[in-house]
Symmetry: C2
Subunit: 313 residues, 2 copies
Protein backbone atom coordinates (compact mmCIF):
# COMPACT_ATOMS: atom_id res chain seq x y z
CA UNK A 1 0.00 0.00 0.00
CA UNK A 2 1.43 3.40 -0.97
CA UNK A 3 1.57 6.11 1.63
CA UNK A 4 -1.22 8.69 1.38
CA UNK A 5 -0.12 12.03 -0.03
CA UNK A 6 -1.10 15.49 1.16
CA UNK A 7 -0.74 18.49 -1.14
CA UNK A 8 -1.55 22.18 -0.70
CA UNK A 9 -4.88 23.55 -1.93
CA UNK A 10 -5.06 24.59 -5.59
CA UNK A 11 -5.67 28.29 -5.19
CA UNK A 12 -4.64 29.60 -8.64
CA UNK A 13 -5.75 27.84 -11.80
CA UNK A 14 -5.17 28.73 -15.45
CA UNK A 15 -7.07 27.44 -18.47
CA UNK A 16 -5.38 28.20 -21.80
CA UNK A 17 -6.86 27.86 -25.29
CA UNK A 18 -5.54 28.72 -28.72
CA UNK A 19 -1.94 27.76 -27.98
CA UNK A 20 -2.35 26.48 -31.53
CA UNK A 21 -4.48 29.12 -33.22
CA UNK A 22 -6.47 26.78 -35.47
CA UNK A 23 -7.53 24.36 -32.71
CA UNK A 24 -10.89 25.94 -32.19
CA UNK A 25 -12.52 24.10 -29.28
CA UNK A 26 -10.10 25.62 -26.79
CA UNK A 27 -10.35 29.07 -28.38
CA UNK A 28 -14.14 29.13 -28.09
CA UNK A 29 -14.22 27.47 -24.68
CA UNK A 30 -11.90 30.14 -23.25
CA UNK A 31 -13.89 32.89 -24.99
CA UNK A 32 -17.08 31.46 -23.49
CA UNK A 33 -15.55 31.39 -19.97
CA UNK A 34 -14.45 35.00 -20.48
CA UNK A 35 -17.92 36.01 -21.71
CA UNK A 36 -19.39 34.43 -18.56
CA UNK A 37 -16.74 36.28 -16.51
CA UNK A 38 -15.87 33.01 -14.80
CA UNK A 39 -13.01 34.01 -12.51
CA UNK A 40 -13.50 31.67 -9.57
CA UNK A 41 -13.57 27.93 -8.99
CA UNK A 42 -15.04 27.84 -5.51
CA UNK A 43 -12.52 29.94 -3.57
CA UNK A 44 -9.74 29.48 -6.12
CA UNK A 45 -8.86 32.15 -8.69
CA UNK A 46 -9.32 31.17 -12.33
CA UNK A 47 -7.24 32.81 -15.09
CA UNK A 48 -8.31 32.21 -18.68
CA UNK A 49 -5.85 32.86 -21.48
CA UNK A 50 -5.93 32.93 -25.27
CA UNK A 51 -2.33 31.85 -25.67
CA UNK A 52 -1.53 32.84 -29.25
CA UNK A 53 -3.80 35.74 -30.26
CA UNK A 54 -2.05 36.43 -33.58
CA UNK A 55 -2.30 32.80 -34.68
CA UNK A 56 -5.96 32.70 -33.54
CA UNK A 57 -6.71 35.76 -35.65
CA UNK A 58 -5.10 34.16 -38.71
CA UNK A 59 -6.54 30.73 -37.84
CA UNK A 60 -3.10 29.16 -38.17
CA UNK A 61 -1.22 26.81 -35.88
CA UNK A 62 1.46 29.44 -35.29
CA UNK A 63 3.04 32.50 -36.86
CA UNK A 64 6.80 31.82 -36.72
CA UNK A 65 7.20 28.60 -34.72
CA UNK A 66 5.20 26.18 -32.59
CA UNK A 67 4.39 28.07 -29.34
CA UNK A 68 3.99 24.78 -27.51
CA UNK A 69 7.70 24.06 -28.01
CA UNK A 70 8.85 27.46 -26.70
CA UNK A 71 8.68 26.87 -22.95
CA UNK A 72 12.25 25.58 -22.61
CA UNK A 73 14.65 27.20 -20.19
CA UNK A 74 16.79 28.36 -23.09
CA UNK A 75 14.01 30.10 -25.04
CA UNK A 76 12.31 31.55 -21.97
CA UNK A 77 15.56 33.22 -20.93
CA UNK A 78 16.79 34.28 -24.38
CA UNK A 79 17.11 38.04 -24.95
CA UNK A 80 14.51 39.51 -27.30
CA UNK A 81 16.05 40.80 -30.52
CA UNK A 82 14.51 42.15 -33.73
CA UNK A 83 14.45 38.69 -35.27
CA UNK A 84 13.15 36.84 -32.21
CA UNK A 85 10.20 34.70 -33.37
CA UNK A 86 6.78 35.96 -32.30
CA UNK A 87 6.08 32.80 -30.32
CA UNK A 88 9.29 33.13 -28.26
CA UNK A 89 8.24 36.65 -27.26
CA UNK A 90 4.75 35.38 -26.47
CA UNK A 91 6.11 32.48 -24.38
CA UNK A 92 8.05 35.00 -22.29
CA UNK A 93 4.90 37.11 -21.89
CA UNK A 94 2.92 34.05 -20.84
CA UNK A 95 5.60 33.14 -18.32
CA UNK A 96 5.36 36.65 -16.88
CA UNK A 97 1.56 36.37 -16.77
CA UNK A 98 1.26 32.87 -15.34
CA UNK A 99 4.45 32.74 -13.26
CA UNK A 100 7.66 30.89 -13.99
CA UNK A 101 7.75 27.14 -13.64
CA UNK A 102 8.96 26.02 -10.18
CA UNK A 103 8.73 29.57 -8.79
CA UNK A 104 6.41 30.51 -5.95
CA UNK A 105 4.44 32.57 -8.48
CA UNK A 106 3.71 29.49 -10.61
CA UNK A 107 0.06 28.58 -11.12
CA UNK A 108 -1.07 25.65 -9.00
CA UNK A 109 -2.77 24.05 -11.99
CA UNK A 110 -2.43 24.80 -15.71
CA UNK A 111 -4.75 23.15 -18.23
CA UNK A 112 -3.87 23.70 -21.89
CA UNK A 113 -6.65 22.91 -24.40
CA UNK A 114 -5.87 21.29 -27.75
CA UNK A 115 -7.56 19.54 -30.66
CA UNK A 116 -6.33 16.82 -32.94
CA UNK A 117 -7.40 15.62 -36.37
CA UNK A 118 -6.71 12.13 -34.98
CA UNK A 119 -9.33 9.99 -33.28
CA UNK A 120 -7.92 10.85 -29.83
CA UNK A 121 -11.17 10.96 -27.84
CA UNK A 122 -10.23 12.68 -24.57
CA UNK A 123 -6.50 12.39 -23.91
CA UNK A 124 -4.69 13.94 -20.97
CA UNK A 125 -1.01 14.43 -21.73
CA UNK A 126 1.37 14.98 -18.87
CA UNK A 127 4.96 14.52 -17.76
CA UNK A 128 5.61 11.11 -16.22
CA UNK A 129 7.32 12.38 -13.11
CA UNK A 130 4.30 14.38 -11.96
CA UNK A 131 2.92 13.83 -8.52
CA UNK A 132 -0.34 11.94 -8.04
CA UNK A 133 -2.65 14.93 -8.35
CA UNK A 134 -2.98 14.74 -12.13
CA UNK A 135 -3.56 10.99 -11.93
CA UNK A 136 -6.50 11.62 -9.62
CA UNK A 137 -7.93 14.24 -11.98
CA UNK A 138 -7.52 11.71 -14.81
CA UNK A 139 -9.37 9.02 -12.85
CA UNK A 140 -12.17 11.49 -12.13
CA UNK A 141 -12.54 12.49 -15.80
CA UNK A 142 -12.38 8.84 -16.87
CA UNK A 143 -15.19 7.95 -14.47
CA UNK A 144 -17.42 10.92 -15.30
CA UNK A 145 -16.96 11.67 -19.00
CA UNK A 146 -18.68 8.80 -20.76
CA UNK A 147 -19.37 10.25 -24.24
CA UNK A 148 -15.81 9.53 -25.43
CA UNK A 149 -12.98 7.23 -24.34
CA UNK A 150 -10.57 8.85 -21.86
CA UNK A 151 -6.86 8.04 -21.84
CA UNK A 152 -3.61 9.22 -20.32
CA UNK A 153 -0.42 9.87 -22.30
CA UNK A 154 2.83 10.09 -20.39
CA UNK A 155 5.93 11.91 -21.62
CA UNK A 156 9.16 10.57 -20.19
CA UNK A 157 10.77 14.01 -20.19
CA UNK A 158 12.48 15.46 -17.15
CA UNK A 159 10.81 18.60 -15.91
CA UNK A 160 14.05 20.46 -16.61
CA UNK A 161 13.64 19.54 -20.30
CA UNK A 162 9.94 20.42 -20.52
CA UNK A 163 8.92 22.55 -23.50
CA UNK A 164 5.14 22.90 -23.42
CA UNK A 165 2.99 25.73 -22.10
CA UNK A 166 1.36 23.58 -19.44
CA UNK A 167 4.78 22.92 -17.88
CA UNK A 168 4.64 26.43 -16.37
CA UNK A 169 2.22 25.09 -13.73
CA UNK A 170 3.06 23.33 -10.48
CA UNK A 171 0.60 20.72 -11.70
CA UNK A 172 -0.49 20.59 -15.28
CA UNK A 173 -1.81 18.67 -18.20
CA UNK A 174 -2.63 19.16 -21.86
CA UNK A 175 -6.18 18.21 -22.76
CA UNK A 176 -6.32 16.84 -26.30
CA UNK A 177 -9.74 16.20 -27.87
CA UNK A 178 -10.44 14.80 -31.33
CA UNK A 179 -11.11 14.09 -34.09
CA UNK A 180 -11.74 17.61 -35.35
CA UNK A 181 -10.26 19.26 -38.45
CA UNK A 182 -8.07 22.23 -37.60
CA UNK A 183 -9.93 25.46 -38.37
CA UNK A 184 -13.31 23.83 -37.72
CA UNK A 185 -15.46 23.88 -34.58
CA UNK A 186 -17.68 20.82 -34.13
CA UNK A 187 -20.46 20.80 -31.54
CA UNK A 188 -19.73 17.22 -30.46
CA UNK A 189 -16.02 17.82 -29.86
CA UNK A 190 -16.64 21.20 -28.19
CA UNK A 191 -19.10 19.59 -25.79
CA UNK A 192 -16.71 16.75 -24.93
CA UNK A 193 -13.96 19.27 -24.12
CA UNK A 194 -16.37 21.39 -22.07
CA UNK A 195 -17.45 18.32 -20.11
CA UNK A 196 -13.83 17.33 -19.39
CA UNK A 197 -13.02 20.88 -18.20
CA UNK A 198 -16.18 21.07 -16.07
CA UNK A 199 -15.27 17.75 -14.44
CA UNK A 200 -11.73 18.96 -13.77
CA UNK A 201 -13.01 22.09 -12.04
CA UNK A 202 -15.50 19.99 -10.05
CA UNK A 203 -12.63 17.77 -8.88
CA UNK A 204 -10.60 20.85 -7.89
CA UNK A 205 -13.47 22.08 -5.71
CA UNK A 206 -13.78 18.66 -4.01
CA UNK A 207 -10.02 18.62 -3.40
CA UNK A 208 -9.96 22.17 -2.06
CA UNK A 209 -12.80 21.42 0.34
CA UNK A 210 -10.98 18.47 1.90
CA UNK A 211 -12.30 15.39 0.10
CA UNK A 212 -10.15 12.28 0.39
CA UNK A 213 -9.38 10.53 -2.91
CA UNK A 214 -8.75 6.82 -2.48
CA UNK A 215 -5.62 5.35 -4.06
CA UNK A 216 -5.76 2.51 -6.53
CA UNK A 217 -4.87 1.71 -10.08
CA UNK A 218 -4.79 3.96 -13.13
CA UNK A 219 -5.46 2.19 -16.41
CA UNK A 220 -5.32 3.19 -20.07
CA UNK A 221 -2.04 5.03 -19.55
CA UNK A 222 0.37 5.11 -22.49
CA UNK A 223 4.03 6.02 -22.24
CA UNK A 224 5.32 7.63 -25.45
CA UNK A 225 8.05 5.34 -26.83
CA UNK A 226 8.79 6.69 -30.28
CA UNK A 227 7.43 8.28 -33.45
CA UNK A 228 7.00 6.71 -36.87
CA UNK A 229 7.41 8.70 -40.10
CA UNK A 230 5.54 8.18 -43.38
CA UNK A 231 7.23 6.20 -46.15
CA UNK A 232 9.03 8.70 -48.37
CA UNK A 233 10.15 9.08 -51.94
CA UNK A 234 13.95 9.07 -51.86
CA UNK A 235 14.16 11.46 -54.77
CA UNK A 236 12.27 14.44 -53.33
CA UNK A 237 11.42 13.36 -49.77
CA UNK A 238 7.67 13.66 -50.43
CA UNK A 239 5.53 11.10 -48.65
CA UNK A 240 5.03 8.04 -50.86
CA UNK A 241 2.07 6.55 -49.04
CA UNK A 242 -0.71 7.18 -46.55
CA UNK A 243 -1.73 5.73 -43.23
CA UNK A 244 -3.28 2.36 -44.04
CA UNK A 245 -7.11 2.40 -44.04
CA UNK A 246 -7.04 -0.39 -41.44
CA UNK A 247 -4.98 1.81 -39.10
CA UNK A 248 -6.64 5.20 -39.78
CA UNK A 249 -8.88 6.28 -36.85
CA UNK A 250 -7.76 3.28 -34.73
CA UNK A 251 -5.82 5.35 -32.20
CA UNK A 252 -4.75 3.35 -29.10
CA UNK A 253 -5.42 -0.02 -30.77
CA UNK A 254 -2.86 -2.87 -30.55
CA UNK A 255 -0.23 -2.69 -33.28
CA UNK A 256 1.13 -6.23 -33.65
CA UNK A 257 3.96 -7.53 -35.85
CA UNK A 258 2.58 -7.90 -39.39
CA UNK A 259 -0.20 -5.31 -38.94
CA UNK A 260 -0.49 -2.82 -41.83
CA UNK A 261 0.80 0.71 -41.15
CA UNK A 262 0.89 2.40 -44.57
CA UNK A 263 -0.44 1.97 -48.09
CA UNK A 264 1.93 3.35 -50.70
CA UNK A 265 0.63 5.17 -53.77
CA UNK A 266 1.90 2.27 -55.85
CA UNK A 267 -0.35 -0.08 -53.84
CA UNK A 268 2.07 -1.78 -51.44
CA UNK A 269 1.29 -2.34 -47.78
CA UNK A 270 4.02 -1.39 -45.30
CA UNK A 271 3.74 -3.55 -42.19
CA UNK A 272 4.76 -3.13 -38.59
CA UNK A 273 7.76 -5.36 -38.09
CA UNK A 274 8.92 -4.91 -34.53
CA UNK A 275 8.45 -7.56 -31.86
CA UNK A 276 6.77 -5.53 -29.17
CA UNK A 277 3.05 -4.90 -29.35
CA UNK A 278 2.64 -1.14 -29.00
CA UNK A 279 -0.22 1.35 -29.26
CA UNK A 280 -0.34 4.01 -31.98
CA UNK A 281 -1.87 7.41 -31.25
CA UNK A 282 -1.99 10.82 -32.95
CA UNK A 283 -2.49 8.73 -36.09
CA UNK A 284 -2.37 10.99 -39.15
CA UNK A 285 -2.42 14.22 -37.11
CA UNK A 286 -2.41 17.06 -39.63
CA UNK A 287 0.00 19.24 -37.69
CA UNK A 288 2.62 16.49 -37.52
CA UNK A 289 3.27 16.17 -41.25
CA UNK A 290 5.82 18.97 -40.96
CA UNK A 291 7.41 17.18 -38.01
CA UNK A 292 7.74 13.97 -40.10
CA UNK A 293 5.47 12.05 -37.74
CA UNK A 294 2.73 9.77 -39.08
CA UNK A 295 1.92 8.56 -35.56
CA UNK A 296 3.37 8.02 -32.13
CA UNK A 297 3.76 4.63 -30.49
CA UNK A 298 3.11 4.11 -26.81
CA UNK A 299 3.52 1.32 -24.28
CA UNK A 300 0.37 0.60 -22.32
CA UNK A 301 0.86 0.77 -18.56
CA UNK A 302 -1.10 0.44 -15.40
CA UNK A 303 0.02 2.82 -12.67
CA UNK A 304 -0.54 2.81 -8.95
CA UNK A 305 -1.66 5.98 -7.32
CA UNK A 306 -1.65 6.68 -3.58
CA UNK A 307 -4.63 8.19 -1.83
CA UNK A 308 -4.60 11.97 -1.82
CA UNK A 309 -6.01 14.80 0.17
CA UNK A 310 -5.42 18.47 0.76
CA UNK A 311 -2.72 19.47 3.22
CA UNK A 312 -4.20 21.61 5.98
CA UNK A 313 -2.37 24.92 6.58
CA UNK B 1 -37.49 13.82 -76.51
CA UNK B 2 -34.51 16.18 -76.71
CA UNK B 3 -32.44 16.28 -79.88
CA UNK B 4 -29.20 14.31 -79.72
CA UNK B 5 -26.07 16.41 -79.40
CA UNK B 6 -22.76 15.96 -81.19
CA UNK B 7 -19.59 17.52 -79.81
CA UNK B 8 -15.97 17.46 -80.96
CA UNK B 9 -13.56 14.92 -79.48
CA UNK B 10 -11.84 15.87 -76.22
CA UNK B 11 -8.26 16.00 -77.38
CA UNK B 12 -6.66 18.11 -74.62
CA UNK B 13 -7.43 17.42 -70.96
CA UNK B 14 -6.07 19.05 -67.81
CA UNK B 15 -6.21 17.71 -64.26
CA UNK B 16 -5.32 20.27 -61.60
CA UNK B 17 -4.59 19.64 -57.92
CA UNK B 18 -3.48 21.90 -55.10
CA UNK B 19 -5.49 24.93 -56.25
CA UNK B 20 -5.92 25.11 -52.49
CA UNK B 21 -2.54 24.08 -51.11
CA UNK B 22 -3.82 22.24 -48.04
CA UNK B 23 -6.34 20.04 -49.87
CA UNK B 24 -4.04 17.09 -50.13
CA UNK B 25 -5.90 14.43 -52.14
CA UNK B 26 -5.57 16.46 -55.33
CA UNK B 27 -1.94 17.37 -54.61
CA UNK B 28 -0.93 13.73 -54.18
CA UNK B 29 -3.12 12.45 -57.03
CA UNK B 30 -1.48 14.89 -59.46
CA UNK B 31 1.98 14.03 -58.10
CA UNK B 32 1.21 10.34 -58.61
CA UNK B 33 0.06 10.93 -62.21
CA UNK B 34 3.28 12.88 -62.81
CA UNK B 35 5.39 10.10 -61.22
CA UNK B 36 3.70 7.60 -63.56
CA UNK B 37 4.35 10.02 -66.45
CA UNK B 38 0.71 9.70 -67.46
CA UNK B 39 0.47 12.09 -70.41
CA UNK B 40 -2.16 10.40 -72.56
CA UNK B 41 -5.79 9.38 -72.20
CA UNK B 42 -6.14 7.12 -75.22
CA UNK B 43 -5.20 9.49 -78.04
CA UNK B 44 -5.89 12.64 -76.03
CA UNK B 45 -3.12 14.69 -74.37
CA UNK B 46 -3.24 14.92 -70.59
CA UNK B 47 -1.73 17.90 -68.76
CA UNK B 48 -1.33 17.62 -64.98
CA UNK B 49 -0.84 20.77 -62.94
CA UNK B 50 -0.04 21.62 -59.33
CA UNK B 51 -1.95 24.88 -59.36
CA UNK B 52 -0.55 26.72 -56.34
CA UNK B 53 2.98 25.45 -55.65
CA UNK B 54 3.76 28.07 -52.99
CA UNK B 55 0.62 27.30 -51.02
CA UNK B 56 1.29 23.56 -51.39
CA UNK B 57 4.79 24.03 -49.99
CA UNK B 58 3.41 25.93 -46.99
CA UNK B 59 0.39 23.61 -46.71
CA UNK B 60 -1.97 26.59 -46.66
CA UNK B 61 -5.11 27.30 -48.65
CA UNK B 62 -3.44 30.26 -50.33
CA UNK B 63 -0.65 32.82 -49.88
CA UNK B 64 -2.35 36.20 -50.56
CA UNK B 65 -5.86 35.38 -51.76
CA UNK B 66 -8.02 32.44 -52.83
CA UNK B 67 -6.63 31.31 -56.21
CA UNK B 68 -9.97 29.75 -57.09
CA UNK B 69 -11.56 33.22 -57.15
CA UNK B 70 -8.89 34.75 -59.42
CA UNK B 71 -10.11 33.55 -62.81
CA UNK B 72 -12.32 36.57 -63.51
CA UNK B 73 -11.88 38.61 -66.65
CA UNK B 74 -10.81 41.59 -64.57
CA UNK B 75 -8.06 39.80 -62.60
CA UNK B 76 -6.82 37.78 -65.57
CA UNK B 77 -6.29 40.96 -67.56
CA UNK B 78 -4.99 43.20 -64.78
CA UNK B 79 -1.41 44.46 -65.21
CA UNK B 80 1.11 42.89 -62.83
CA UNK B 81 2.53 45.40 -60.36
CA UNK B 82 4.82 45.02 -57.35
CA UNK B 83 1.84 44.57 -55.04
CA UNK B 84 -0.14 42.19 -57.26
CA UNK B 85 -1.14 39.23 -55.08
CA UNK B 86 0.75 36.01 -55.75
CA UNK B 87 -2.43 34.18 -56.75
CA UNK B 88 -3.35 36.78 -59.39
CA UNK B 89 0.07 36.32 -61.00
CA UNK B 90 -0.35 32.56 -60.79
CA UNK B 91 -3.85 32.70 -62.33
CA UNK B 92 -2.38 34.57 -65.30
CA UNK B 93 0.39 31.96 -65.59
CA UNK B 94 -2.18 29.16 -65.49
CA UNK B 95 -4.22 30.90 -68.17
CA UNK B 96 -1.10 31.08 -70.35
CA UNK B 97 -0.39 27.40 -69.66
CA UNK B 98 -3.88 26.00 -70.13
CA UNK B 99 -5.25 28.49 -72.67
CA UNK B 100 -7.70 31.30 -72.13
CA UNK B 101 -11.34 30.50 -71.58
CA UNK B 102 -13.38 30.57 -74.84
CA UNK B 103 -10.21 30.78 -76.96
CA UNK B 104 -9.24 28.09 -79.46
CA UNK B 105 -6.29 27.28 -77.19
CA UNK B 106 -8.61 26.45 -74.29
CA UNK B 107 -8.40 22.92 -72.88
CA UNK B 108 -11.27 20.69 -73.97
CA UNK B 109 -11.77 19.46 -70.41
CA UNK B 110 -10.47 20.86 -67.12
CA UNK B 111 -10.94 18.91 -63.89
CA UNK B 112 -9.95 20.74 -60.71
CA UNK B 113 -9.48 18.55 -57.61
CA UNK B 114 -10.60 19.74 -54.17
CA UNK B 115 -11.26 18.46 -50.67
CA UNK B 116 -13.74 19.59 -48.06
CA UNK B 117 -13.95 19.13 -44.30
CA UNK B 118 -17.69 18.68 -44.92
CA UNK B 119 -19.33 15.33 -45.53
CA UNK B 120 -19.55 16.01 -49.27
CA UNK B 121 -18.95 12.50 -50.60
CA UNK B 122 -18.19 12.98 -54.30
CA UNK B 123 -19.58 16.28 -55.57
CA UNK B 124 -19.15 17.61 -59.08
CA UNK B 125 -19.51 21.38 -59.16
CA UNK B 126 -20.16 23.05 -62.47
CA UNK B 127 -21.76 26.08 -64.07
CA UNK B 128 -25.44 25.57 -64.84
CA UNK B 129 -25.27 26.71 -68.44
CA UNK B 130 -22.79 24.02 -69.45
CA UNK B 131 -23.59 21.75 -72.35
CA UNK B 132 -24.61 18.13 -71.73
CA UNK B 133 -21.09 16.67 -71.73
CA UNK B 134 -20.49 17.25 -68.01
CA UNK B 135 -23.91 15.83 -67.19
CA UNK B 136 -22.97 12.64 -68.98
CA UNK B 137 -19.66 12.43 -67.10
CA UNK B 138 -21.63 12.95 -63.88
CA UNK B 139 -24.04 10.14 -64.75
CA UNK B 140 -21.12 7.85 -65.50
CA UNK B 141 -19.38 8.62 -62.18
CA UNK B 142 -22.66 8.22 -60.31
CA UNK B 143 -23.21 4.79 -61.85
CA UNK B 144 -19.65 3.54 -61.36
CA UNK B 145 -18.38 5.04 -58.11
CA UNK B 146 -20.29 3.21 -55.41
CA UNK B 147 -18.10 3.70 -52.33
CA UNK B 148 -19.52 7.21 -51.69
CA UNK B 149 -22.65 9.12 -52.69
CA UNK B 150 -22.21 11.16 -55.90
CA UNK B 151 -23.97 14.48 -56.41
CA UNK B 152 -24.00 17.44 -58.76
CA UNK B 153 -23.86 21.07 -57.62
CA UNK B 154 -24.88 23.73 -60.10
CA UNK B 155 -23.75 27.35 -59.95
CA UNK B 156 -26.16 29.77 -61.59
CA UNK B 157 -23.34 32.05 -62.73
CA UNK B 158 -23.00 33.22 -66.31
CA UNK B 159 -19.80 32.05 -67.92
CA UNK B 160 -18.77 35.67 -68.32
CA UNK B 161 -18.85 36.00 -64.52
CA UNK B 162 -17.00 32.75 -63.80
CA UNK B 163 -14.16 32.96 -61.31
CA UNK B 164 -12.82 29.45 -60.75
CA UNK B 165 -9.83 27.71 -62.28
CA UNK B 166 -11.92 25.06 -64.00
CA UNK B 167 -13.76 27.79 -65.97
CA UNK B 168 -10.67 28.04 -68.23
CA UNK B 169 -11.81 24.83 -69.95
CA UNK B 170 -14.29 24.44 -72.80
CA UNK B 171 -15.88 21.84 -70.55
CA UNK B 172 -15.05 21.67 -66.89
CA UNK B 173 -15.95 20.70 -63.38
CA UNK B 174 -14.58 20.92 -59.87
CA UNK B 175 -14.37 17.57 -58.11
CA UNK B 176 -14.95 17.99 -54.39
CA UNK B 177 -14.36 15.00 -52.10
CA UNK B 178 -14.85 14.87 -48.34
CA UNK B 179 -14.84 14.74 -45.43
CA UNK B 180 -11.10 15.22 -44.95
CA UNK B 181 -9.36 17.72 -42.67
CA UNK B 182 -7.29 20.24 -44.61
CA UNK B 183 -3.60 19.38 -44.30
CA UNK B 184 -4.37 15.67 -43.90
CA UNK B 185 -4.34 12.90 -46.49
CA UNK B 186 -6.71 10.01 -45.76
CA UNK B 187 -6.47 6.75 -47.71
CA UNK B 188 -10.26 6.39 -48.02
CA UNK B 189 -10.79 9.90 -49.43
CA UNK B 190 -7.74 9.65 -51.72
CA UNK B 191 -9.06 6.39 -53.14
CA UNK B 192 -12.54 7.82 -53.73
CA UNK B 193 -11.04 10.77 -55.62
CA UNK B 194 -8.78 8.47 -57.63
CA UNK B 195 -11.75 6.29 -58.55
CA UNK B 196 -13.79 9.33 -59.69
CA UNK B 197 -10.87 10.58 -61.82
CA UNK B 198 -10.25 7.13 -63.31
CA UNK B 199 -13.94 6.85 -64.22
CA UNK B 200 -13.86 10.31 -65.82
CA UNK B 201 -10.89 9.36 -67.99
CA UNK B 202 -12.58 6.07 -68.90
CA UNK B 203 -15.66 8.02 -70.03
CA UNK B 204 -13.46 10.36 -72.09
CA UNK B 205 -11.96 7.39 -73.92
CA UNK B 206 -15.42 5.95 -74.64
CA UNK B 207 -16.57 9.33 -75.93
CA UNK B 208 -13.49 9.85 -78.07
CA UNK B 209 -13.87 6.42 -79.65
CA UNK B 210 -17.43 7.10 -80.74
CA UNK B 211 -19.66 5.62 -78.04
CA UNK B 212 -23.23 6.90 -77.96
CA UNK B 213 -24.47 8.04 -74.55
CA UNK B 214 -28.22 7.72 -74.17
CA UNK B 215 -30.15 10.73 -72.92
CA UNK B 216 -32.34 10.60 -69.87
CA UNK B 217 -32.67 12.13 -66.45
CA UNK B 218 -30.00 13.44 -64.10
CA UNK B 219 -30.88 13.21 -60.42
CA UNK B 220 -29.28 14.45 -57.22
CA UNK B 221 -28.54 17.81 -58.77
CA UNK B 222 -28.56 20.82 -56.43
CA UNK B 223 -28.71 24.42 -57.58
CA UNK B 224 -26.93 26.77 -55.15
CA UNK B 225 -29.57 29.18 -53.81
CA UNK B 226 -27.85 31.01 -50.98
CA UNK B 227 -25.39 30.84 -48.09
CA UNK B 228 -26.12 30.92 -44.36
CA UNK B 229 -23.74 32.53 -41.84
CA UNK B 230 -23.13 31.44 -38.26
CA UNK B 231 -24.93 33.25 -35.44
CA UNK B 232 -22.64 36.04 -34.27
CA UNK B 233 -21.91 38.04 -31.19
CA UNK B 234 -22.94 41.63 -31.97
CA UNK B 235 -20.19 43.05 -29.80
CA UNK B 236 -17.14 41.58 -31.55
CA UNK B 237 -18.60 39.67 -34.53
CA UNK B 238 -17.19 36.36 -33.26
CA UNK B 239 -19.37 33.33 -33.94
CA UNK B 240 -21.72 32.73 -31.01
CA UNK B 241 -22.69 29.16 -31.82
CA UNK B 242 -21.80 26.08 -33.82
CA UNK B 243 -23.54 23.99 -36.44
CA UNK B 244 -26.15 21.97 -34.56
CA UNK B 245 -25.09 18.38 -33.87
CA UNK B 246 -28.24 17.20 -35.69
CA UNK B 247 -27.15 19.06 -38.84
CA UNK B 248 -23.36 18.40 -38.69
CA UNK B 249 -22.30 15.80 -41.32
CA UNK B 250 -25.83 15.71 -42.82
CA UNK B 251 -24.85 17.38 -46.10
CA UNK B 252 -27.61 17.19 -48.76
CA UNK B 253 -30.31 16.23 -46.23
CA UNK B 254 -33.72 17.96 -46.23
CA UNK B 255 -33.74 21.15 -44.18
CA UNK B 256 -37.37 21.75 -43.21
CA UNK B 257 -38.94 24.66 -41.33
CA UNK B 258 -38.28 24.13 -37.63
CA UNK B 259 -35.19 21.97 -38.15
CA UNK B 260 -32.20 22.94 -35.96
CA UNK B 261 -29.34 24.78 -37.68
CA UNK B 262 -27.13 26.07 -34.86
CA UNK B 263 -26.52 25.55 -31.16
CA UNK B 264 -25.36 28.73 -29.45
CA UNK B 265 -22.72 28.65 -26.71
CA UNK B 266 -25.42 29.71 -24.27
CA UNK B 267 -27.41 26.60 -25.21
CA UNK B 268 -30.11 27.93 -27.53
CA UNK B 269 -31.12 26.19 -30.74
CA UNK B 270 -31.40 28.38 -33.84
CA UNK B 271 -33.96 26.88 -36.22
CA UNK B 272 -34.50 27.06 -39.95
CA UNK B 273 -37.50 29.29 -40.44
CA UNK B 274 -38.06 29.63 -44.17
CA UNK B 275 -40.94 27.95 -45.97
CA UNK B 276 -39.07 26.16 -48.71
CA UNK B 277 -37.45 22.81 -47.99
CA UNK B 278 -33.85 23.17 -49.16
CA UNK B 279 -30.68 21.07 -48.97
CA UNK B 280 -27.63 22.20 -47.01
CA UNK B 281 -24.14 21.32 -48.22
CA UNK B 282 -20.57 22.38 -47.41
CA UNK B 283 -21.84 22.19 -43.83
CA UNK B 284 -19.13 23.55 -41.49
CA UNK B 285 -16.47 23.71 -44.20
CA UNK B 286 -13.30 24.94 -42.48
CA UNK B 287 -12.24 27.24 -45.31
CA UNK B 288 -15.58 29.08 -45.30
CA UNK B 289 -15.35 30.53 -41.79
CA UNK B 290 -13.44 33.49 -43.22
CA UNK B 291 -16.11 33.87 -45.90
CA UNK B 292 -18.84 33.99 -43.19
CA UNK B 293 -20.50 30.87 -44.55
CA UNK B 294 -21.68 28.10 -42.21
CA UNK B 295 -23.25 26.19 -45.11
CA UNK B 296 -24.81 26.63 -48.52
CA UNK B 297 -28.43 25.86 -49.33
CA UNK B 298 -29.43 24.24 -52.59
CA UNK B 299 -32.64 23.41 -54.41
CA UNK B 300 -32.85 19.80 -55.51
CA UNK B 301 -33.51 19.38 -59.22
CA UNK B 302 -33.88 16.70 -61.79
CA UNK B 303 -32.44 17.62 -65.17
CA UNK B 304 -33.02 16.19 -68.61
CA UNK B 305 -30.02 15.42 -70.73
CA UNK B 306 -30.05 14.65 -74.45
CA UNK B 307 -28.16 11.75 -75.91
CA UNK B 308 -24.59 12.60 -76.84
CA UNK B 309 -21.89 11.40 -79.15
CA UNK B 310 -18.71 12.65 -80.71
CA UNK B 311 -18.94 14.80 -83.82
CA UNK B 312 -17.03 13.17 -86.68
CA UNK B 313 -14.52 15.44 -88.39
Amino acid sequence: MMNPVSLPALSRIAICGGTHGNELSGVYLVRELQRQKKEKVGEAALTTVLSNPRAIKECRRYIDMDLNRCFTKALLSSPVMDDTPFEVRRAQELQALLGASSSVQAMDLVIDLHNSTSNMGVSLITYYNQNPLILHIYKHIQRNVTVAPVRLILLDTHHADAYSLDSLGKHSFTLEVGPQPHGVLRADIFNIMKEAVDQTLKWVQCFNTGSVFEGGEVDNAYMLVKSIDFPRDQENNNISGVVHPQLQDQDFCHLRPGDPMFLTFSGETVKYEEKEVLHPFFINEGAYYEKSIAFHLGRKMTLSVPSLQMKEH
